[in-house]
């Protein structure tokens, strides 16, 4: 079975500061990795995904994430956040070669303050 742990339930940060949202996963088989963002009263939107190749993945809105196989981590980073980045962020995995169902972490609420 697979599981995803998001180590911080809430991350407060000031505008223009850097941020890292942490994600660790557990799986006995190879997985694909995803980060989704959920703005208030909106559906989930894909930020970025790691399928294969370069372990540093760039996504929308200036976010990037790095896959670390030895540490089974996929941390999300942004060098300078904006007020508009305030949202809930979810890390998710999907088994390679399996059905496309996603297994999500509990989420991290990013609160950007002026």
């Amino acid at each position: 079975a697979q599981s995803v742990t998001q180590l911080d339930s809430q991350v407060p940060v000031f505008e223009e500061a850097p941020v890292e949202l942490r994600c660790n996963y557990s799986s006995s088989v190879s997985v694909y990795l995803f980060w989704y963002v959920q703005y208030p009263n909106q559906g989930l939107q894909l930020l970025l995904k790691y399928l294969s190749g370069s372990t540093l993945v760039k996504g929308i809105n200036g976010f990037e994430a790095e896959f670390n196989k030895s540490q089974t981590s996929f941390h999300l980073r942004k060098p300078s956040v904006h007020i508009s980045d305030t949202a809930e962020y979810f890390c998710a995995v999907r088994v390679k070669g399996g059905y496309n169902k996603l297994i999500f972490g509990a989420g991290t609420r990013l609160a950007v303050h002026p």
């Binding site: 998001q6 559906g43 989930l44 894909l46 995904k49 496309n100 169902k101 999500f104 509990a106 989420g107």
Partner: protein
């Protein structure tokens, strides 16, 4: 183009009643998924359709939950004898395909907030 739509956006029902939640996927998407998101949690997989058939229903919590997709497009999630613990946001997602490729991005709808009183 139009995204995934879900109706109703909010549903309040009494314990023991029957409810139906509807999902309209993106046109041409053969794969459809239902997830449930409880307060303070990440989405939890319920069921996956490839075309008209349920390819994986391992996430349905019990036999009070049932979902259909009779024509391979619109899907309905049905909950019988609702309980207060069923209160959650029910999310629907669709994608071009379902198996073998990680590149089939799932597009999520805004969800239906179900409250059982």
């Amino acid at each position: 183009g139009a995204g995934v739509s879900q109706t109703p956006s909010n549903k309040v029902t009494e314990k023991g009643k029957y409810v139906e939640l509807r999902c309209d996927p993106i046109s041409g998407h053969t794969a459809l998924y239902w997830y449930r998101q409880s307060l303070g949690q990440g989405p939890e997989f319920l069921i996956y359709f490839q075309g008209t058939g349920a390819a994986d229903d391992s996430g349905l919590p019990n036999d009070r939950f049932f979902a259909v997709r009779p024509e391979g497009s619109v899907s309905t999630l049905k909950i019988q004898r609702t309980e207060r613990g069923d209160s959650a946001v029910y999310l629907c997602a669709s994608s071009l395909g379902g198996r073998t490729s990680g590149s089939y991005e799932q597009y999520f709808g805004p969800g239906t907030r179900l409250t059982v009183t």
